[in-house]
Protein backbone atom coordinates (compact mmCIF):
# COMPACT_ATOMS: atom_id res chain seq x y z
CA UNK A 1 0.00 0.00 0.00
CA UNK A 2 1.40 3.39 -0.93
CA UNK A 3 1.68 6.38 1.33
CA UNK A 4 -1.54 8.13 0.39
CA UNK A 5 -3.32 4.85 0.86
CA UNK A 6 -1.93 4.59 4.37
CA UNK A 7 -3.01 8.14 5.17
CA UNK A 8 -6.46 7.31 3.93
CA UNK A 9 -6.76 4.69 6.64
CA UNK A 10 -7.38 7.46 9.11
CA UNK A 11 -11.06 7.83 8.39
CA UNK A 12 -12.01 11.07 6.75
CA UNK A 13 -14.73 11.62 9.29
CA UNK A 14 -12.33 11.17 12.21
CA UNK A 15 -9.96 13.70 10.63
CA UNK A 16 -12.78 16.13 10.06
CA UNK A 17 -13.82 15.79 13.68
CA UNK A 18 -10.22 16.35 14.74
CA UNK A 19 -10.18 19.53 12.67
CA UNK A 20 -13.40 20.73 14.29
CA UNK A 21 -11.87 20.04 17.68
CA UNK A 22 -8.75 22.05 16.84
CA UNK A 23 -10.86 24.98 15.66
CA UNK A 24 -12.87 24.92 18.88
CA UNK A 25 -9.72 24.80 20.98
CA UNK A 26 -8.28 27.75 19.16
CA UNK A 27 -11.55 29.67 19.36
CA UNK A 28 -11.68 29.02 23.09
CA UNK A 29 -8.64 31.27 23.36
CA UNK A 30 -7.50 29.57 26.55
CA UNK A 31 -4.28 28.13 25.21
CA UNK A 32 -0.93 29.82 25.45
CA UNK A 33 0.60 31.41 22.37
CA UNK A 34 3.02 28.59 21.72
CA UNK A 35 0.33 25.96 22.04
CA UNK A 36 -2.06 28.03 19.92
CA UNK A 37 0.56 28.18 17.19
CA UNK A 38 1.00 24.43 17.33
CA UNK A 39 -2.76 23.87 17.15
CA UNK A 40 -3.01 26.29 14.25
CA UNK A 41 -0.23 24.62 12.31
CA UNK A 42 -1.69 21.19 12.93
CA UNK A 43 -5.16 22.39 11.93
CA UNK A 44 -4.05 24.08 8.71
CA UNK A 45 -2.07 21.02 7.68
CA UNK A 46 -5.05 18.80 8.40
CA UNK A 47 -7.41 21.11 6.49
CA UNK A 48 -5.09 21.08 3.47
CA UNK A 49 -4.74 17.31 3.55
CA UNK A 50 -8.48 16.83 3.83
CA UNK A 51 -9.26 19.25 1.02
CA UNK A 52 -6.61 17.64 -1.17
CA UNK A 53 -7.93 14.16 -0.43
CA UNK A 54 -11.40 15.25 -1.41
CA UNK A 55 -10.34 17.01 -4.55
CA UNK A 56 -8.18 14.19 -5.79
CA UNK A 57 -10.51 11.38 -4.75
CA UNK A 58 -11.66 9.03 -7.47
CA UNK A 59 -14.60 6.74 -7.17
CA UNK A 60 -13.53 3.11 -7.00
CA UNK A 61 -16.22 0.70 -8.10
CA UNK A 62 -15.99 -3.07 -8.01
CA UNK A 63 -18.42 -5.85 -8.66
CA UNK A 64 -18.80 -8.91 -6.52
CA UNK A 65 -18.48 -12.02 -8.66
CA UNK A 66 -18.82 -15.71 -7.88
CA UNK A 67 -16.21 -18.05 -9.33
CA UNK A 68 -16.34 -21.70 -8.37
CA UNK A 69 -18.45 -20.76 -5.41
CA UNK A 70 -15.88 -18.22 -4.23
CA UNK A 71 -16.53 -14.50 -4.03
CA UNK A 72 -14.19 -12.12 -5.82
CA UNK A 73 -14.11 -8.44 -6.60
CA UNK A 74 -13.60 -7.31 -10.15
CA UNK A 75 -13.41 -3.75 -11.45
CA UNK A 76 -16.72 -2.40 -12.65
CA UNK A 77 -17.10 -1.32 -16.25
CA UNK A 78 -20.45 0.05 -17.18
CA UNK A 79 -22.19 -1.79 -19.92
CA UNK A 80 -23.84 0.40 -22.47
Amino acid sequence: MNKSGAAKKDSFEASLQKLEELVRELEGGEKGLEESLEIFEQGITLAKTLAQQLQEAKQKVEVLTQQNGKSAKTPFTERR
Binding site: A57, K58, V63
Partner: protein
Protein backbone atom coordinates in the same frame (compact mmCIF):
# COMPACT_ATOMS: atom_id res chain seq x y z
CA UNK B 1 -81.55 -60.98 -5.78
CA UNK B 2 -80.10 -57.79 -4.71
CA UNK B 3 -76.85 -56.69 -6.19
CA UNK B 4 -74.75 -54.82 -3.69
CA UNK B 5 -71.79 -52.62 -4.32
CA UNK B 6 -68.88 -52.69 -1.98
CA UNK B 7 -68.22 -49.48 -0.06
CA UNK B 8 -65.13 -48.94 -2.11
CA UNK B 9 -67.03 -49.42 -5.34
CA UNK B 10 -69.65 -46.92 -4.28
CA UNK B 11 -67.09 -44.44 -3.07
CA UNK B 12 -65.17 -44.74 -6.30
CA UNK B 13 -68.35 -44.24 -8.29
CA UNK B 14 -69.29 -41.14 -6.31
CA UNK B 15 -65.74 -39.90 -6.74
CA UNK B 16 -65.94 -40.33 -10.49
CA UNK B 17 -69.33 -38.71 -10.75
CA UNK B 18 -68.30 -35.72 -8.68
CA UNK B 19 -65.09 -35.19 -10.57
CA UNK B 20 -66.92 -35.56 -13.83
CA UNK B 21 -69.61 -33.09 -12.84
CA UNK B 22 -67.36 -30.42 -11.27
CA UNK B 23 -63.93 -30.71 -12.82
CA UNK B 24 -63.27 -26.98 -12.59
CA UNK B 25 -65.50 -24.56 -10.68
CA UNK B 26 -65.06 -21.29 -8.89
CA UNK B 27 -66.52 -21.19 -5.42
CA UNK B 28 -66.85 -18.24 -3.09
CA UNK B 29 -66.69 -18.57 0.65
CA UNK B 30 -65.00 -17.78 3.94
CA UNK B 31 -62.06 -19.77 5.23
CA UNK B 32 -62.20 -21.49 8.60
CA UNK B 33 -60.31 -24.29 10.36
CA UNK B 34 -57.32 -23.51 8.21
CA UNK B 35 -54.20 -25.51 8.99
CA UNK B 36 -50.99 -26.04 7.04
CA UNK B 37 -49.10 -29.24 7.76
CA UNK B 38 -45.36 -29.83 7.58
CA UNK B 39 -45.98 -31.61 4.30
CA UNK B 40 -46.91 -28.23 2.83
CA UNK B 41 -50.53 -29.18 2.23
CA UNK B 42 -53.18 -26.86 3.67
CA UNK B 43 -56.53 -28.14 4.88
CA UNK B 44 -59.41 -25.79 5.43
CA UNK B 45 -63.17 -25.39 5.43
CA UNK B 46 -64.98 -23.08 3.03
CA UNK B 47 -68.27 -21.87 4.40
CA UNK B 48 -71.10 -19.41 3.99
CA UNK B 49 -74.08 -18.72 6.26
CA UNK B 50 -75.71 -22.10 5.71
CA UNK B 51 -73.17 -24.59 4.47
CA UNK B 52 -69.61 -25.69 4.62
CA UNK B 53 -67.28 -27.82 2.51
CA UNK B 54 -63.91 -29.35 3.37
CA UNK B 55 -61.11 -28.31 1.04
CA UNK B 56 -57.43 -28.96 0.53
CA UNK B 57 -54.72 -26.90 -1.15
CA UNK B 58 -51.87 -29.20 -1.99
CA UNK B 59 -48.29 -28.02 -1.77
CA UNK B 60 -47.92 -28.01 -5.54
CA UNK B 61 -50.74 -25.51 -5.89
CA UNK B 62 -49.82 -23.50 -2.77
CA UNK B 63 -46.34 -22.46 -3.86
CA UNK B 64 -47.46 -19.60 -6.05
CA UNK B 65 -49.90 -18.26 -3.49
CA UNK B 66 -48.60 -14.80 -2.50
CA UNK B 67 -50.64 -14.32 0.63
CA UNK B 68 -51.27 -16.48 3.64
CA UNK B 69 -54.57 -18.37 3.97
CA UNK B 70 -56.14 -17.58 7.31
CA UNK B 71 -59.43 -18.01 9.09
CA UNK B 72 -62.04 -15.37 8.34
CA UNK B 73 -60.60 -14.53 4.94
CA UNK B 74 -63.22 -14.31 2.17
CA UNK B 75 -61.88 -15.95 -0.98
CA UNK B 76 -62.66 -17.07 -4.49
CA UNK B 77 -61.29 -20.58 -4.96
CA UNK B 78 -60.87 -22.57 -8.11
CA UNK B 79 -61.58 -26.19 -7.40
CA UNK B 80 -62.55 -29.56 -8.54
CA UNK B 81 -65.03 -31.40 -6.39
CA UNK B 82 -63.87 -34.79 -5.25
CA UNK B 83 -64.41 -37.43 -2.72
CA UNK B 84 -61.71 -38.82 -0.50
CA UNK B 85 -62.47 -42.53 -0.63
CA UNK B 86 -60.66 -43.61 2.59
CA UNK B 87 -62.97 -41.31 4.54
CA UNK B 88 -65.84 -40.90 2.14
CA UNK B 89 -65.72 -37.18 2.67
CA UNK B 90 -66.68 -34.68 0.06
CA UNK B 91 -63.64 -32.54 -0.60
CA UNK B 92 -62.74 -29.58 -2.75
CA UNK B 93 -59.30 -29.78 -4.27
CA UNK B 94 -58.18 -26.23 -4.76
CA UNK B 95 -55.93 -25.17 -7.62
CA UNK B 96 -56.00 -21.42 -6.99
CA UNK B 97 -57.22 -19.05 -4.30
CA UNK B 98 -57.75 -15.31 -4.60
CA UNK B 99 -58.79 -12.95 -1.86
CA UNK B 100 -62.25 -11.60 -2.61
CA UNK B 101 -61.98 -8.10 -1.20
CA UNK B 102 -58.56 -7.00 -2.45
CA UNK B 103 -55.77 -8.06 -4.74
CA UNK B 104 -53.68 -10.94 -3.56
CA UNK B 105 -50.48 -8.89 -3.67
CA UNK B 106 -52.11 -6.17 -1.60
CA UNK B 107 -53.28 -8.77 0.90
CA UNK B 108 -49.88 -10.43 1.00
CA UNK B 109 -48.29 -7.06 1.63
CA UNK B 110 -50.65 -6.31 4.48
CA UNK B 111 -50.24 -9.74 6.01
CA UNK B 112 -46.44 -9.63 5.98
CA UNK B 113 -46.41 -6.05 7.20
CA UNK B 114 -48.65 -6.94 10.14
CA UNK B 115 -46.57 -10.00 10.95
CA UNK B 116 -43.19 -8.25 10.89
CA UNK B 117 -44.59 -5.26 12.71
CA UNK B 118 -45.86 -7.55 15.46
CA UNK B 119 -42.34 -8.98 15.70
CA UNK B 120 -41.04 -5.46 16.24
CA UNK B 121 -38.92 -5.36 13.08
CA UNK B 122 -40.11 -1.86 12.20
CA UNK B 123 -39.35 -0.37 15.63
CA UNK B 124 -37.53 2.93 15.53
CA UNK B 125 -35.22 1.60 18.25
CA UNK B 126 -33.94 -1.08 15.84
CA UNK B 127 -32.81 1.50 13.31
CA UNK B 128 -29.07 1.85 13.24
CA UNK B 129 -27.56 5.27 12.72
CA UNK B 130 -26.04 5.84 9.27
CA UNK B 131 -22.36 6.74 9.11
CA UNK B 132 -21.90 10.45 8.51
CA UNK B 133 -19.11 9.88 6.01
CA UNK B 134 -18.86 6.27 4.87
CA UNK B 135 -15.70 5.12 3.12
CA UNK B 136 -16.89 1.77 1.85
CA UNK B 137 -20.36 1.17 0.60
CA UNK B 138 -22.19 -1.83 -0.85
CA UNK B 139 -24.91 -1.70 -3.47
CA UNK B 140 -27.36 -4.56 -3.94
CA UNK B 141 -29.17 -4.09 -7.23
CA UNK B 142 -29.19 -5.12 -10.85
CA UNK B 143 -26.12 -4.37 -12.95
CA UNK B 144 -28.34 -3.41 -15.85
CA UNK B 145 -30.82 -1.17 -14.10
CA UNK B 146 -31.12 2.60 -14.20
CA UNK B 147 -30.92 2.49 -10.40
CA UNK B 148 -27.22 1.55 -10.44
CA UNK B 149 -26.39 4.29 -12.96
CA UNK B 150 -28.22 6.85 -10.86
CA UNK B 151 -26.59 5.73 -7.63
CA UNK B 152 -23.05 5.72 -9.08
CA UNK B 153 -23.48 9.10 -10.69
CA UNK B 154 -24.84 10.79 -7.56
CA UNK B 155 -22.18 9.18 -5.36
CA UNK B 156 -19.45 10.20 -7.82
CA UNK B 157 -20.65 13.77 -7.90
CA UNK B 158 -21.22 14.19 -4.18
CA UNK B 159 -18.48 12.11 -2.63
CA UNK B 160 -15.91 10.53 -4.94
CA UNK B 161 -13.72 9.38 -2.03
CA UNK B 162 -15.66 6.17 -1.82
CA UNK B 163 -15.05 2.50 -2.43
CA UNK B 164 -18.16 0.92 -3.84
CA UNK B 165 -18.83 -2.80 -4.03
CA UNK B 166 -21.74 -3.88 -6.18
CA UNK B 167 -23.48 -7.16 -5.47
CA UNK B 168 -25.33 -7.83 -8.72
CA UNK B 169 -28.73 -9.46 -8.32
CA UNK B 170 -31.87 -9.83 -10.34
CA UNK B 171 -34.44 -7.46 -8.95
CA UNK B 172 -37.51 -9.07 -10.44
CA UNK B 173 -38.69 -12.55 -11.31
CA UNK B 174 -38.77 -15.67 -9.23
CA UNK B 175 -35.09 -15.77 -8.34
CA UNK B 176 -34.93 -12.13 -7.23
CA UNK B 177 -35.94 -12.49 -3.59
CA UNK B 178 -33.39 -15.18 -2.81
CA UNK B 179 -30.62 -13.45 -4.75
CA UNK B 180 -31.25 -10.17 -2.93
CA UNK B 181 -31.45 -11.82 0.47
CA UNK B 182 -28.31 -13.87 -0.02
CA UNK B 183 -26.39 -10.89 -1.42
CA UNK B 184 -27.16 -8.92 1.73
CA UNK B 185 -26.13 -11.85 3.85
CA UNK B 186 -22.92 -12.42 1.84
CA UNK B 187 -21.84 -8.79 2.00
CA UNK B 188 -22.31 -8.86 5.78
CA UNK B 189 -20.35 -12.07 6.14
CA UNK B 190 -17.51 -11.49 3.69
CA UNK B 191 -17.17 -7.72 3.68
CA UNK B 192 -17.92 -6.52 7.19
CA UNK B 193 -15.80 -3.44 6.52
CA UNK B 194 -18.66 -2.04 4.42
CA UNK B 195 -20.27 0.78 6.37
CA UNK B 196 -23.52 1.09 4.48
CA UNK B 197 -25.65 -0.90 2.03
CA UNK B 198 -27.99 0.50 -0.59
CA UNK B 199 -30.62 -2.06 -1.53
CA UNK B 200 -33.13 -1.35 -4.23
CA UNK B 201 -34.11 -0.90 -7.84
CA UNK B 202 -35.73 1.58 -10.15
CA UNK B 203 -39.43 2.02 -10.77
CA UNK B 204 -41.78 -0.63 -12.08
CA UNK B 205 -45.15 -2.23 -11.56
CA UNK B 206 -46.21 -3.63 -8.21
CA UNK B 207 -45.29 -7.09 -9.54
CA UNK B 208 -41.87 -5.83 -10.68
CA UNK B 209 -41.11 -4.50 -7.22
CA UNK B 210 -42.49 -7.56 -5.50
CA UNK B 211 -39.18 -9.09 -4.43
CA UNK B 212 -38.78 -6.22 -1.98
CA UNK B 213 -42.06 -7.23 -0.35
CA UNK B 214 -40.84 -10.77 0.30
CA UNK B 215 -40.26 -11.99 3.80
CA UNK B 216 -36.84 -13.46 3.03
CA UNK B 217 -35.60 -10.05 1.82
CA UNK B 218 -37.14 -8.24 4.80
CA UNK B 219 -35.46 -10.67 7.19
CA UNK B 220 -32.09 -10.33 5.46
CA UNK B 221 -32.30 -6.54 5.81
CA UNK B 222 -33.34 -6.84 9.45
CA UNK B 223 -30.44 -9.20 10.15
CA UNK B 224 -27.85 -7.03 8.40
CA UNK B 225 -25.22 -5.69 10.78
CA UNK B 226 -24.33 -3.12 8.14
CA UNK B 227 -26.91 -0.31 8.10
CA UNK B 228 -29.23 -0.50 5.09
CA UNK B 229 -30.86 2.23 3.04
CA UNK B 230 -33.76 0.82 1.06
CA UNK B 231 -34.63 2.48 -2.24
CA UNK B 232 -37.26 0.79 -4.31
CA UNK B 233 -39.04 2.34 -7.27
CA UNK B 234 -40.41 5.83 -7.11
CA UNK B 235 -41.47 8.12 -4.34
CA UNK B 236 -44.95 6.62 -4.13
CA UNK B 237 -43.83 3.01 -3.91
CA UNK B 238 -43.59 1.66 -0.41
CA UNK B 239 -42.29 -1.82 0.21
CA UNK B 240 -41.77 -4.03 3.23
CA UNK B 241 -38.02 -3.50 2.71
CA UNK B 242 -38.57 0.22 3.29
CA UNK B 243 -40.17 -0.45 6.68
CA UNK B 244 -37.46 -2.77 7.90
CA UNK B 245 -34.47 -0.84 6.53
CA UNK B 246 -32.63 1.63 8.73
CA UNK B 247 -33.51 4.39 6.32
CA UNK B 248 -35.97 4.59 3.47
CA UNK B 249 -35.07 6.59 0.41
CA UNK B 250 -37.78 7.47 -2.11
CA UNK B 251 -35.54 6.66 -5.09
CA UNK B 252 -32.09 5.19 -5.74
CA UNK B 253 -30.72 8.69 -6.43
CA UNK B 254 -32.13 9.91 -3.14
CA UNK B 255 -30.51 6.95 -1.39
CA UNK B 256 -27.14 8.01 -2.79
CA UNK B 257 -27.73 11.54 -1.53
CA UNK B 258 -28.60 10.27 1.93
CA UNK B 259 -25.58 7.99 1.93
CA UNK B 260 -22.83 10.57 1.56
CA UNK B 261 -22.33 14.25 2.29
CA UNK B 262 -21.82 16.78 -0.47
CA UNK B 263 -18.15 17.28 -1.25
CA UNK B 264 -18.52 20.98 -2.00
CA UNK B 265 -20.25 21.59 1.32
CA UNK B 266 -17.53 19.72 3.20
CA UNK B 267 -14.80 21.57 1.30
CA UNK B 268 -16.47 24.82 2.26
CA UNK B 269 -16.60 23.68 5.86
CA UNK B 270 -12.88 22.84 5.79
CA UNK B 271 -12.06 26.21 4.26
CA UNK B 272 -14.10 28.08 6.83
CA UNK B 273 -12.40 26.04 9.55
CA UNK B 274 -9.02 27.14 8.25
CA UNK B 275 -10.18 30.76 8.05
CA UNK B 276 -11.64 30.50 11.54
CA UNK B 277 -8.34 29.21 12.89
CA UNK B 278 -6.44 32.06 11.33
CA UNK B 279 -8.84 34.58 12.83
CA UNK B 280 -8.64 32.90 16.22
CA UNK B 281 -4.88 32.92 16.17
CA UNK B 282 -4.79 36.57 15.12
CA UNK B 283 -7.14 37.39 17.98
CA UNK B 284 -5.02 35.45 20.41
CA UNK B 285 -1.93 37.35 19.33
CA UNK B 286 -3.77 40.67 19.45
CA UNK B 287 -5.05 39.93 22.92
CA UNK B 288 -1.58 39.05 24.12
CA UNK B 289 -0.25 42.25 22.53
CA UNK B 290 -2.91 44.29 24.29
CA UNK B 291 -2.09 42.73 27.62
CA UNK B 292 1.59 43.45 27.10
CA UNK B 293 0.86 47.05 26.14
CA UNK B 294 -1.39 47.51 29.16
CA UNK B 295 1.34 46.25 31.45
CA UNK B 296 3.91 48.44 29.82
CA UNK B 297 1.70 51.46 30.40
CA UNK B 298 1.14 50.66 34.03
CA UNK B 299 2.19 53.70 36.21
CA UNK B 300 4.47 51.65 38.39
CA UNK B 301 6.35 50.43 35.37
CA UNK B 302 6.42 53.89 33.87
CA UNK B 303 7.86 55.46 37.08
CA UNK B 304 8.68 53.48 40.20
CA UNK B 305 8.62 56.76 42.24
CA UNK B 306 4.89 56.65 41.83
CA UNK B 307 4.73 54.28 44.74
CA UNK B 308 6.35 56.89 47.00
CA UNK B 309 4.40 59.76 45.49
CA UNK B 310 1.21 58.03 46.18
CA UNK B 311 1.93 57.83 49.89
CA UNK B 312 3.16 61.39 50.02
CA UNK B 313 -0.06 62.61 48.50
CA UNK B 314 -1.98 60.82 51.17
CA UNK B 315 0.00 62.45 53.95
CA UNK B 316 -0.49 65.88 52.35
CA UNK B 317 -4.13 65.34 52.08
CA UNK B 318 -4.49 64.37 55.74
CA UNK B 319 -2.35 67.29 56.74
CA UNK B 320 -4.60 69.63 54.79
CA UNK B 321 -7.64 68.29 56.57
CA UNK B 322 -6.21 69.01 60.05
CA UNK B 323 -6.91 72.83 60.34
CA UNK B 324 -10.40 72.41 59.13
CA UNK B 325 -11.04 69.72 61.73
CA UNK B 326 -9.64 72.00 64.43
CA UNK B 327 -11.76 74.92 63.24
CA UNK B 328 -14.86 72.84 63.41
CA UNK B 329 -13.99 71.75 66.91
CA UNK B 330 -13.56 75.37 68.11
CA UNK B 331 -16.77 76.48 66.49
CA UNK B 332 -18.55 73.86 68.42
CA UNK B 333 -17.04 75.09 71.72
CA UNK B 334 -18.17 78.66 70.97
CA UNK B 335 -21.71 77.59 70.49
CA UNK B 336 -21.63 75.69 73.75
CA UNK B 337 -20.41 78.75 75.64
CA UNK B 338 -23.13 81.01 74.26
CA UNK B 339 -25.74 78.53 75.35
CA UNK B 340 -24.41 78.42 78.89
CA UNK B 341 -24.32 82.25 79.07
CA UNK B 342 -27.94 82.39 78.02
CA UNK B 343 -28.98 79.98 80.72
CA UNK B 344 -27.01 82.00 83.29
CA UNK B 345 -28.69 85.22 82.20
CA UNK B 346 -32.13 83.85 83.02
CA UNK B 347 -31.21 83.70 86.65
CA UNK B 348 -29.74 87.26 86.84
CA UNK B 349 -31.26 89.42 89.72
CA UNK B 350 -31.43 92.33 87.30
CA UNK B 351 -33.94 90.29 85.28
CA UNK B 352 -36.07 89.87 88.47
CA UNK B 353 -35.95 93.60 89.19
CA UNK B 354 -36.93 94.23 85.57
CA UNK B 355 -40.23 92.52 86.26
CA UNK B 356 -40.98 95.29 88.97
CA UNK B 357 -39.48 93.84 92.11
CA UNK B 358 -37.18 95.85 94.40
CA UNK B 359 -34.48 94.91 96.84
CA UNK B 360 -34.71 96.66 100.17
CA UNK B 361 -31.49 97.20 102.13
CA UNK B 362 -30.74 98.66 105.49
CA UNK B 363 -28.11 101.29 105.94
CA UNK B 364 -25.53 98.51 106.63
CA UNK B 365 -26.38 97.03 103.28
CA UNK B 366 -28.17 93.91 104.64
CA UNK B 367 -31.19 92.83 102.67
CA UNK B 368 -34.60 93.16 104.31
CA UNK B 369 -36.63 89.97 104.01
CA UNK B 370 -39.21 90.59 106.76
CA UNK B 371 -41.06 93.67 108.15
CA UNK B 372 -39.86 92.59 111.61
CA UNK B 373 -36.35 93.49 110.63
CA UNK B 374 -37.14 97.21 110.52
CA UNK B 375 -38.34 99.86 112.89
CA UNK B 376 -40.44 102.96 112.25
CA UNK B 377 -38.34 105.79 110.98
CA UNK B 378 -35.44 103.55 109.79
CA UNK B 379 -33.87 104.59 106.55
CA UNK B 380 -33.85 102.00 103.78
CA UNK B 381 -32.58 102.02 100.27
CA UNK B 382 -34.65 100.35 97.49
CA UNK B 383 -32.75 98.97 94.59
CA UNK B 384 -34.81 99.08 91.41
CA UNK B 385 -34.07 97.84 87.94
CA UNK B 386 -33.01 101.31 87.15
CA UNK B 387 -31.51 103.40 89.94
CA UNK B 388 -32.39 103.37 93.66
CA UNK B 389 -34.68 105.21 96.09
CA UNK B 390 -33.76 106.28 99.63
CA UNK B 391 -36.82 106.11 101.91
CA UNK B 392 -38.02 105.91 105.50
CA UNK B 393 -40.19 103.25 107.09
CA UNK B 394 -43.45 104.92 108.17
CA UNK B 395 -45.05 101.84 109.75
CA UNK B 396 -44.22 98.20 110.07
CA UNK B 397 -46.78 95.55 110.10
CA UNK B 398 -46.43 91.83 109.99
CA UNK B 399 -49.08 90.24 107.98
CA UNK B 400 -49.77 86.89 106.68
CA UNK B 401 -47.04 84.40 106.42
Amino acid sequence: MRTALTVSQLAAAVHDILEGAFPDVWVEGEISNCKTYPSGHTYLTLKDEASQLRAVLFKGAAWNLRFRLEDGLKVLARARVSCYPPRGDLQLILSAVEPKEKGSLQLAFEQLKAKLEAEGLFEASRKRPLPRIPQRLGVVTSLQGAALRDILSVLGRRWPALEILIAPVSVQGEAAKDEIASAIERLNRQFPELELLLVGRGGGSLEDLWAFNEEVVARAIAASRIPVISCVGHETDTTISDFVADMRAPTPSAAAELAVPDRDAVLEQIESSAAGMEASLRHAIERLGQRLEALRRHPFLQSPYRLYEERMRRVDELYGRLPEAMRRRLLHADKDLALQAQRLDAFSPLKVLGRGYAIARKADGSIVRSSRQVRRGEALSLRLAEGQILCEVSDEQVRGG
